[in-house]
C-alpha cells in the first residue's frame, strides 16, 4: 500500500494542473506532492534495509534493496528538480497554459519513473519505460524553439523505436519461459526458470532487449539523440533525464541479466562489457570536443551508462556494489551539474562554452557549484563518484578483468581532462565584463546549494543503512 502511495502521489499534482487557472498554485503543489513522495521513499528504504523487501502486490509490485536504491535516487533528484522548477520556470515567463502543461507532465513523468523501480513484472516495467518517453517528450520541447522541437522529435522516434524492439524481447522471454513450463513472469521467476529455457529464444530476447533498451539508455552507437534531448530540455528536466531516467532503464536490463547469465551461449556479460566500453570510450572522446555546457554533461551521461554497464559485466558481489553505488552517486552528481548549468543559463543567458568566461567573479554561487559539480561527476576525490568508480575498478581487478579497470581509468581520465579544461575556463577564465549577469531566484539557489551536500557527504561517509542496502542489492543481483 505504502508503495502505491509513494509512487502515485504526484499524480494528484498532475490532476491539479488539469483545472483552469491552476498555474499559480501548480509549482508549489507539484513540489509538495513530490516532497511527500520523497519522504515516503526514505521510509520505504529504511524498511527495506530492515526487512529485505516491501511488497504491495506480490510478483507484480514490490521493492528489494536494488529497486529501493534506484527509487531513492529518482525521488531525491525529482524533489530537487521540482523545487528548482518553481523559480526556474517562472523566470522563463511562459504563458499560463504552458506552465500547467509543464507541471502536469513533470509530475506524471516522475510517477512513470518511480513505477519502473517498483514493477517486478517485465511487462509492467516495459509499459513504465514507454511512459517515461511519452510523458517527457513535451518537457523536452518545452522551449518551443526549432531546436527543442527537433531534439524532442529525435528523442521520441529513437526511444520509441527502441521500446518497440524491446517489447518483442519481453514477449519472446515470456514465450521462452512458458515453453519451458515456467509460470512466474517476474525478474526472479525468470532467473529461476532460466536454465530450462531454450538458448535460441533467450539469445533472441537478449539481443532485442539490449538493442531496444540500449537505445533509451543512450548506449553507443544509439546515443545520438541523447545530447540533443538532454541539452534542449529545461535544466530541471535535464537533471532528471540525465540523472535518473537513463539509469532507470538500465536497471530493467540489469534485473534481467541473471536470466541471460544462466545460459552461457548468450554471452551476456561479454556484450555488456563491449557496449559499456564502447559507450565509455566514445563519450570520453566526444566530451573533449563539445562546445556547450549542457551537451558536455549529457555526453558524460553516456560515459556513466558505459561505466555502469562495465560494472554489470563484473559478476561478483563487489561489482554489484560498485554498480548500485555508481547509480546513486551519478544521479546526485549529474543533477547537481545540470542545476548549475541551468543557473549559468539564467545568469549569463547562454550555456555555450566559448561565450562564457570568468563566471566565478560575477556569479560566485553558480561558478562554485558548477566547478564542484564538474569535479564530482568527473570523479575527483573527495566526492562520491570517485569512491564508486574506484570500487568498480577494484572489483574488476579482483575479478580478474584487469582490462576493464584499465579502460575505465584511462577513459575516465580523458573525460576528466576534457571536462575540467572546459569548465575551469568557464568558471575561472579571465573575466568577461561585457556580459550582463542576472540573478538566481531563491528556490533555485537553495536547491543548487543543497544538491552539493549529498555529493560531498557520500564521498566522505556512507551511512550504515545505505551500505547495508548496497550489499543486499549486490547479493540480489548475483542470485535473485
Amino acid at each position: 500500500m505504502i508503495l502505491f502511495v509513494a509512487v502515485l502521489l504526484p499524480v494528484l499534482a498532475g490532476l491539479w494542473c488539469a483545472f483552469p487557472r491552476s498555474e499559480r498554485g501548480a509549482p508549489v503543489v507539484t513540489a509538495s506532492f513530490v516532497a511527500a513522495s520523497f519522504l515516503l521513499t526514505i521510509w520505504i528504504a529504511a524498511r527495506t534495509a530492515a526487512t529485505g523487501q516491501v511488497v504491495a502486490v506480490g510478483d507484480w509490485v514490490q521493492v528489494d534493496a536494488f529497486a529501493v536504491v534506484l527509487m531513492l535516487a529518482i525521488a531525491t533528484v525529482s524533489f530537487g528538480a521540482a523545487v528548482y522548477s518553481t523559480g526556474y520556470i517562472a523566470l522563463l515567463n511562459p504563458p499560463p497554459q504552458r506552465v500547467r502543461l509543464y507541471y502536469a507532465n513533470f509530475s506524471l513523468f516522475i510517477v512513470s519513473m518511480l513505477a519502473i523501480s517498483v514493477c517486478v513484472e517485465p511487462g509492467l516495467a516495459w509499459i513504465a519505460v514507454e511512459l517515461t518517453t511519452l510523458l517527457s517528450v513535451l518537457l523536452v520541447s518545452f522551449a518551443d524553439t526549432a531546436e527543442a522541437l527537433e531534439a524532442a522529435w529525435k528523442y521520441m522516434v529513437i526511444t520509441l523505436l527502441g521500446a518497440t524492439v524491446a517489447v518483442l524481447g519481453v514477449l519472446v522471454l515470456f514465450w521462452a519461459q512458458h515453453a519451458a513450463g515456467g509460470t512466474t513472469f517476474t525478474y526472479a521467476g525468470l532467473a529461476a526458470d532460466a536454465h530450462r529455457m531454450n538458448p535460441v529464444l533467450v539469445s533472441a530476447a537478449f539481443a532485442l532487449l539490449l538493442i531496444g533498451f540500449g537505445a533509451k539508455i543512450g548506449l553507443f552507437p544509439m546515443h545520438t539523440w541523447l545530447p540533443d534531448a538532454h541539452s534542449q530540455a529545461p535544466a530541471p528536466v535535464c537533471a532528471i533525464l540525465s540523472g535518473v531516467e537513463t539509469s532507470a532503464v538500465l536497471y530493467v536490463l540489469i534485473r534481467l541479466a541473471a536470466t541471460f547469465r544462466a545460459i552461457p551461449a548468450v554471452h551476456a556479460d561479454l556484450w555488456f562489457a563491449i557496449f559499456g566500453a564502447a559507450s565509455l570510450v566514445a563519450a570520453a572522446l566526444l566530451i573533449v570536443q563539445t562546445h556547450d555546457l549542457k551537451r558536455l554533461f549529457a555526453f558524460s551521461t553516456v560515459e556513466h551508462m558505459g561505466i555502469m554497464l562495465l560494472a554489470a559485466s563484473i559478476t561478483t558481489a563487489a561489482g554489484g556494489i560498485g554498480l548500485v553505488w555508481q547509480m546513486l552517486t551519478h544521479a546526485l552528481a549529474k543533477s547537481l551539474c545540470f542545476f548549475a548549468a541551468g543557473g549559468v543559463a539564467l545568469v549569463a543567458g547562454t550555456t555555450e562554452i566559448a561565450k562564457l568566461r570568468g563566471l566565478q567573479a560575477r556569479a560566485p554561487l553558480v561558478g562554485t557549484m558548477l566547478l564542484i559539480g564538474a569535479l564530482a561527476i568527473a570523479g575527483a576525490p573527495p566526492f562520491a563518484v570517485f569512491l564508486s568508480e574506484l570500487a568498480i575498478a577494484l572489483a574488476a581487478v579482483y575479478a580478474g578483468h584487469v582490462w576493464i579497470a584499465v579502460v575505465l581509468l584511462l577513459f575516465v581520465g580523458i573525460a576528466f581532462a576534457g571536462m575540467m579544461g572546459k569548465v575551469t575556463s568557464v568558471v575561472l577564465g579571465r573575466e568577461d565584463t561585457h556580459r550582463e549577469i542576472g540573478h538566481l531566484p531563491p528556490s533555485t539557489a537553495v536547491v543548487l546549494l543543497s544538491a552539493a551536500v549529498p555529493v560531498l557527504v557520500l564521498g566522505l561517509w556512507i551511512p550504515g543503512g545505505l551500505a547495508h542496502l548496497f550489499s543486499m542489492a549486490a547479493t540480489e543481483m548475483v542470485a535473485p
Partner: protein, 224 residues
C-alpha cells in the same frame, strides 16, 4: 470438413497481406494513403487475433483484437485528423532520403533476414501460428526502414506504429496469454503516443512551416 482446419490457412493469408502492407508503407508516397495503409494493417492484426483466438478459444486474444480495432483503426486516425493540419495529408513526399526502387530492394533484403531469423526462432519451441512470428519479424525490420527513409513527421510516426503492429502480430502467436501488457499497451500507450506526436507535429508545423522533421538539423556538435 470442419472450420478448425481452415484456421491456419486463413491466418496465413492474413499474414501474407500483413507483410504486403509493410512493403506498401515503404513505397506509398502520399501521406494520406500512408495512413490508409496503416489502418488496413491494424485491421489485419485484429483479424489475426480474432482468428487465432477462435480455436482454442482465448478471450485474451479477443480483447487484443477489439482493443486494436478501437485504438488503431478508430482513435488514432481520428486524433491525427483532428490535430495535424489537414493540408499535410494530400502532400506527396518527394524528399525521401533514398528513392523508391532502392528502398524496396532494401526492404526485400530485410524481409529475407526476418524470414531467416524467424524460422530459427519457431524451430526452437513448438508453436501453432509460426507465420505470425516470421512475418512479424520481417515487418518489424521493414518498419525500421520506413523510419530511416521517411522525412515527414506523420509517416515516420506511422512507421513506429507499424513496427508495434509487427511486434504484436508476433506477440499474439508467441504469448497468447500474456498478462495485461498487450491490452494495456494498445489501449493506453498507443493513443497517448499518437496524441503526443500530433501535438508535436503541430508545433513543428507552426514553428518551422513544414512537417519535414527529417530536414531539421540545427543540433550538431559544431553548428557553425
Amino acid at each position: 470438413m470442419n472450420a478448425q482446419a481452415f484456421i491456419p490457412e486463413i491466418n496465413a493469408l492474413i499474414c501474407g497481406f500483413f507483410v504486403l502492407s509493410a512493403f506498401a508503407m515503404v513505397v506509398v508516397r502520399q501521406i494520406g494513403a500512408c495512413l490508409g495503409v496503416f489502418i488496413a494493417q491494424s485491421l489485419l492484426l485484429a483479424l489475426s487475433a480474432f482468428v487465432l483466438g477462435a480455436s482454442p478459444f482465448s478471450w485474451h486474444l479477443y480483447a487484443v483484437g477489439i482493443v486494436t480495432l478501437l485504438s488503431k483503426v478508430i482513435v488514432i486516425p481520428w486524433l491525427l485528423r483532428r490535430f495535424v493540419p489537414g493540408e499535410i495529408y494530400t502532400l506527396r513526399e518527394i524528399s525521401q532520403s533514398i528513392d523508391v526502387p532502392t528502398a524496396l530492394l532494401i526492404a526485400l533484403a530485410l524481409a529475407l533476414v526476418g524470414f531467416v531469423l524467424g524460422t530459427r526462432l519457431v524451430t526452437a519451441a513448438p508453436l501453432l501460428a509460426t507465420q505470425n512470428v516470421i512475418v512479424g519479424l520481417a515487418s518489424l525490420l521493414i518498419g525500421a526502414l520506413v523510419l530511416a527513409v521517411r522525412r515527414e513527421a506523420v509517416p515516420q510516426m506511422l512507421g513506429i506504429l507499424a513496427m508495434e503492429n509487427a511486434a504484436f502480430l508476433a506477440g499474439i502467436a508467441i504469448a497468447p496469454d500474456f498478462p495485461l501488457i498487450a491490452e494495456l499497451a494498445i489501449a493506453f500507450d498507443v493513443p497517448l503516443l499518437a496524441f503526443i506526436v500530433a501535438i508535436l507535429t503541430r508545433a513543428v508545423y507552426r514553428r518551422v512551416g513544414s512537417t519535414a522533421v527529417g530536414e531539421l538539423a540545427a543540433l550538431r556538435e559544431h553548428p557553425q
